[in-house]
């Protein structure tokens, strides 16, 4: 068993906007590229040109269809990586102390030299956010790009996780969720940011911003049986025929 710190100085994490994530996988591959070249063992690929290509990814995008009671089905793109939980079961389950949560920023990391590849942590994580690297035999997980966010060799503006830097839709935000005044905390407050699977009691640091309500025009487009049509005033007819239209045209041009 490995101990979690009682508290951390900061709670660094991601805020992911499900309203704007278009499901493009940019974050997935940028992460793969950075973390293959950097922290720890490369993220390997097995059978990369073969019948059953598999590889290690620290971040994946899933897509779910949602069928509301009324109206059209919706598609939600859902990027998922380690949520750097405050009560991280993947850490407490680790038999060697390889998995740990950093006291200064709350990032959950794996010390690969101590990892024996037993896989208990992946089993303990309710989010499926850890992946065993088949080539190296160690557990890989999101590091929140710990080798970018403090990296003096990068310009300050680039000291963010690779997935955040690359996200074309601006759907990924990085910051200190322990500071209520931080931009990410403000965003969570404004948009009703949510824990993923709060019932698991893991207290995830990463937050998800829910999609805004969809297909509002279907509701304002008064159904045939309703007497109220809030948009109707914008289409008050000026003419019913081409002749009537030309009459309106003449009158209106006079006023121009």
């Amino acid at each position: 068993m490995t101990t979690l710190p009682e508290k951390t100085d900061r709670k660094l994490g991601l805020v992911i906007d499900l309203d704007t994530c278009v499901g493009c996988h940019a974050c997935v591959v940028s992460c793969k590229g950075w973390n293959t070249e950097n922290y720890g063992a490369p993220l390997s690929d097995q059978d990369p040109y073969g019948a059953d290509p598999t590889g290690t990814f620290l971040n994946r995008v899933h897509s779910y269809e949602v069928q509301p009671e009324e109206g059209a089905a919706q598609l939600i793109h859902f990027p998922k990586s380690c949520l750097h939980c405050e009560d991280a079961p993947c850490v407490t389950v680790c038999p060697t102390g390889a998995s740990y949560k950093r006291t200064e920023d709350g990032i959950v990391l794996v010390n690969e030299t101590d990892c024996i590849g037993c896989g208990l942590c992946a089993w303990a994580c309710p989010y499926g956010a850890r992946e065993m690297d088949a080539a190296e035999g160690v557990m890989k997980k999101c590091t929140l790009c710990v080798d970018r966010i403090y990296n003096d060799n990068l310009p300050e503006v680039d000291q963010v996780p690779a997935c955040v830097r690359t996200c074309p839709a601006g759907a990924r935000h990085f910051g200190d969720l322990g500071d209520p005044d931080s931009e990410v905390s403000q965003l969570v407050a404004e948009r009703g940011g949510m824990d993923l699977m709060p019932e698991q009691g893991t207290k995830p640091v990463n937050q998800y911003l829910p999609p805004r309500p969809k297909d509002e025009l279907d509701r304002t487009a008064a159904p045939e049986d309703s007497e109220i049509d809030v948009l109707a005033p914008y289409l008050n007819p000026v003419a019913d025929s081409p002749k009537g239209f030309l009459g309106w045209l003449d009158k209106t041009l006079e006023k121009l």
């Binding site: 499901g23 940019a26 290509p53 990296n151 969809k214 487009a221 914008y234 289409l235 041009l253």
Partner: protein, 942 residues
């Protein structure tokens, strides 16, 4: 246990060096930072300074490292030694390869230059390749626009002097309502994602019109799951509602469009339907101040949208009257179109109301003074914060040209083009259709062609016809079958060459075009055409030369292969003469440069053309003494001048007072300046020139100074497109150049000068009750055709492609997970895996584009899922319509532009026993490069 926190290095060295170039993982042209370690590519990220992507990068771009190092890269020139299609090649030297090509092509040029058909695929060096083809003297050149999205380009240019594509953009800073039609991962890729994120952040709304609710449509606030091929009808219904409510921008229409221009209404006149012009050919309007006829562009003129004019007994009505008469008709009422479009009338009305509300009730003023082309100074710029974007979904239909025109009519009636909050052009657009070249097809053996191949016709006189009326071009572009085919018809080249219709050719020369697989309709048929032999046992298409960087499906069907480099090993220019990387607020161009040298015996295709051009003694490619003029493409980019002072790159030219952006002489250090600046050049547009560009004096002067034009090119938008009317007039019997009788009715019906909607041709050619389902493809965001290889990282995201079925079809046939379906069209049959998707038009099925691969290609294992489960819809689509019994070959293309009508496809779906592999199956082709490694632990740094 206690806390155990190791010390880690949080500040490791990132790379030895960053080399900045331009991505080529799709057509978006983002700037990239290539991090180098030990001389190798270690990591690729977006360039923050770059105008296109401002630092972000998509999945494709980040996976570039796997493309650059792909095992499918060709290694050396190849000469075919077995039969075509066998994949039997021997590696040869470049000297032998170029010698062989010269041996084939020199006699062709001397006797019949048209017997070379030179078509390029998805490259972005068309101003260069067309220059080469023009110097060779063949009329048979085009790029791939004809099967891509020429409807979008041509409809935009013929209507408003510019198109969506990547040639314009919504005003992301001010737009409040953004409506997209038929856009998946299209042009522009990252800018659209960035824009949607940006406008949503400030509460602006997105309406997505697409049968499939994925990607951008998934994040759209409102989704219109339209029935494919009916977008035009939906748009015309929106127009009907807006006209009825008088919610159109009359001031804008009067000033900036041909709505006040006067149409000859006399059916007996040879000028019936043409616009009234003065002796100089200028269109005339009635000035509301004087009530008199006057050229539209005179100082102080206030064009009258309403008044008619009678001259020599002939009534001339303003275009505005014709618009009102046509679109107020009840055939465009929401109730009349709802069923066809699959959209409820109330929703059509709600969208029309929302467009009207935002355009007019949320109008705003920008405090920018500007002066229009009539000399009037306006204190402010009026913003109408509704913007539109559209791509292939509406254009790849046989009614696509008119549908695209309809959308432009809608946005122009709302007054939202080139205004704050609306749609904005990027230089070199706006550009009036009259400023484009016309097509040229004048062949002289041993000499260059008489002008540029592609262009914009104004009427029958500009068609590319021989004296006997037959097609001058192998693809029959610019003929009565598709008179305004501005990008050519790449999808017809092999079919026509094989049929000898209009004539036979000697050499087919192609670049980056996977014609024996996903870049052709009727894949099996095209393979047979490429391998077919005549009565003497000779190939019907005698020589095929192909250039590609990778072991694509097309390689096996060529006789001679020029292996290209990867995008990190080459020079390229993303040129203002071609398809630059401009923004609405700036002109910009860019380069690629060899950030690494090839480790194989390969050469950039454009450099190969420089040498081949010299070997063939092409005038543009040799010096006076006959020696090679351009050592390679980099040399051409630096030193070629299209006209004095104008070259492929506009940055850092030698001006009179030193280095300048715009006009100036060649600068030997130009590429170094680009590299130093991150691979691109940006020149900003002044504030008073930033909107109303077609009519804005300050913009026009700026464009002339930069070298986009030689003189100001003011124009008004052509809501009424006269060139179309000229073809109709010919079809009605006017003029000397007459269409063949079998095309008269179709020309009259489809080349209407005002936007119309007609059912896609396939609907009238097949039994729509039997083939009751529409079938589409969409491009995934993390994969792009197969112009690169099948990428080790990306194929783990998109390794196979089920056919997605909507709920009602899924349930009707009792499909369950893991099932397969037989999908049949009038042309062919495939058997493929299916999956359920609820967020889908109820009569539409779809799959991802070009995931399916042929066994043996791309260095993949023969059991790769791309080959065993992946599939193409191409097998179901023919380049010709089903025979009509008249013995004629009718192209499955738009009748105006010749655009391949991919998305007209209709199918029937049946549940099928799961075959061992997706059908039709193809024999493996022998790989010239072997197969990729069975594991990767990619880390180049120590």
């Amino acid at each position: 246990m206690t806390l155990h926190q190791p010390k880690i290095n949080t500040s490791p060295k990132v790379s030895d060096e960053v080399r900045k170039t331009t991505c080529y993982m799709c057509a978006c042209r983002c700037g990239i930072n290539v991090h180098m370690k030990d001389g190798k590519v270690a990591y690729i990220e977006g360039n923050r300074d770059h105008p296109v992507n401002k630092g972000v990068l998509c999945a494709k771009g980040s996976a570039g490292i796997m493309q650059h190092n792909a095992p499918s890269r060709l290694r050396a020139p190849l000469k075919r030694v077995g039969p075509r299609g066998s994949g039997e090649f021997e590696e040869i030297s470049w000297d032998e390869a170029l010698g062989l090509a010269t041996e084939w092509l020199a006699p062709v040029r001397e006797k019949n230059p048209e017997k070379l058909a030179f078509f390029t695929g998805r490259d972005q060096s068309q101003s260069f390749t067309s220059f080469w083809a023009q110097n060779f003297g063949t009329p048979n050149y085009a790029a791939h626009g004809g099967f891509c999205s020429v409807n979008m380009a041509a409809a935009g240019i013929y209507t408003m002097g510019g198109a969506f594509w990547e040639f314009g953009q919504p005003d992301w800073d001010y737009t409040k309502l953004f409506m997209i039609f038929g856009v998946a991962e299209d042009h522009d890729s990252n800018p659209i994602k960035m824009g949607i994120g940006k406008i949503k952040e400030r509460g602006a709304r997105v309406i997505g019109v697409n049968p499939i609710r994925s990607g951008y449509n998934a994040v759209a606030d409102d989704w219109v799951g339209i029935t494919p091929g009916t977008d035009g009808l939906f748009i015309l219904s929106l127009i009907h509602e807006l006209l009825k409510a008088g919610r159109i921008d009359l001031d804008y229409l009067a000033r900036f469009t041909n709505a006040p221009c006067l149409v000859n209404m006399d059916p007996d006149s040879p000028e019936h339907g043409l616009l009234l012009r003065d002796d100089d050919g200028k269109t005339l309007v009635i000035d509301r101040k004087t009530g008199k006829l006057t050229p539209f562009d005179q100082p102080g003129v206030q064009p009258d949208l309403s008044a008619s004019h009678r001259k020599a007994g002939i009534t001339h009505k303003p275009v505005m009257h014709l618009i009102a008469e046509r679109y107020l008709d009840d055939q465009y009422a929401p109730e009349a179109v709802a069923e066809k479009c699959g959209i409820k009338p109330a929703k059509i009305r709600a969208i029309a109301a929302e467009l009207a509300r935002v355009a007019f009730d949320e109008a705003f003023e920008l405090d920018h003074e500007w002066t229009d082309f009539r000399g009037e100074t306006h204190k402010t710029m009026t913003g109408r914060p509704v913007s539109f974007h559209s791509m292939r979904g509406i254009s790849a239909h046989s009614n696509g040209f008119q549908t695209c025109r309809s959308l432009h009519l809608l946005q122009i009636l709302l007054g939202t083009v080139e205004v704050p909050g609306g749609f904005r052009f990027k230089p070199p657009y706006p550009k009036p259709v009259s400023a484009h070249p016309k097509p040229h097809c004048g062949v002289t053996p041993g000499k260059p062609l008489d002008g540029p191949h592609l262009g914009f016709v104004q009427g029958p006189d500009d068609l590319a016809l021989k004296d006997d009326g037959s097609a001058a071009r192998i693809d029959k572009a610019f003929t009565w079958e598709n008179p305004m085919s501005a990008h050519g018809l790449m999808h017809m080249v092999i079919s026509n060459a094989h049929a000898g219709d209009p004539y036979k050719i000697d050499t087919l020369f192609m670049y980056m075009a996977n014609m024996s697989w996903n870049s052709s309709m009727n894949t099996r048929g095209v393979i047979d055409m490429l391998t077919d032999t005549d009565e003497n046992g000779d190939y019907v298409i005698p020589h095929i030369i192909y250039s590609d960087a990778y072991s694509s499906e097309m390689v096996a069907y060529a006789d001679l292969i020029f292996p290209d480099t990867t995008y990190l090993e080459r020079h390229d220019c993303i040129s203002l003469l071609d398809r630059p990387i401009c923004e609405a607020d700036a002109a910009a161009d860019a380069i690629r440069w060899p950030v690494v040298e090839p480790d194989r015996d390969v050469r950039g295709f454009q450099s190969v053309l420089c040498e081949l051009g010299a070997r063939l003694n092409l005038p543009g490619f040799v010096n006076e003494d006959g020696s090679q003029k351009y050592a390679d493409y980099g040399d051409y980019i630096t030193n070629h001048e299209r006209k004095p002072g104008i070259g492929p790159l506009a940055g850092w030219r030698m001006g009179e007072d030193g280095l300048t952006h715009g006009r100036g002489g060649p600068n030997e250090a130009q590429l170094d300046h680009y590299i130093e600046n991150g691979g691109f050049m940006v020149k900003h547009i002044p504030e008073d020139a930033s909107y109303y560009k077609p009519w804005n004096k300050a913009y026009q002067d700026w464009a002339v100074e930069l070298g986009l034009f030689d003189s100001p090119q003011h124009y008004i938008f052509d809501l009424y497109a006269e060139p179309l009317r000229r073809f109709q007039l010919a079809a009605e019997g006017h003029g000397d150049r007459q269409p063949p009788d079998h095309l008269r009715e179709r020309i009259k019906e489809t080349l209407d000068p005002l936007p119309i909607w007609y059912a896609p041709f396939e609907d009238t050619g097949v039994d729509t009750e039997e083939f009751d389902v529409h079938a589409l493809t969409q491009r995934p965001m993390a994969m792009y055709h197969s112009w690169g290889t099948q990428n080790a990282w990306l194929r783990q995201i998109h390794g196979h492609n089920p056919l997605y079925l909507p709920t009602n079809i899924w349930q009707k046939h009792g499909f369950a997970e893991g099932d397969w379906a037989r999908v049949t069209s009038a042309h062919g049959e495939i058997t493929v895996p299916v999956a359920h998707m609820a967020a889908l038009n109820e009569n539409t099925v779809w799959t991802w584009n070009a995931i399916g691969k042929r066994k043996g290609a791309w260095a993949l294992d023969k059991d790769a899922p791309e080959a065993t489960k992946g599939f193409l819809l191409n097998h179901l689509i023919h380049e010709l319509l089903p025979p009509k019994g008249d013995g004629l070959r009718w192209a499955n293309s738009d009748p105006v532009t010749g655009q391949a009508a991919w998305f007209d496809l209709r199918v029937k779906i049946e549940k099928a026993e799961a075959p061992a592999e997706a059908q039709p199956g193809f024999d493996p082709i022998k790989s010239p490069v072997g197969q990729g490694p069975d594991h990767l632990e990619w880390k180049v740094g120590k």
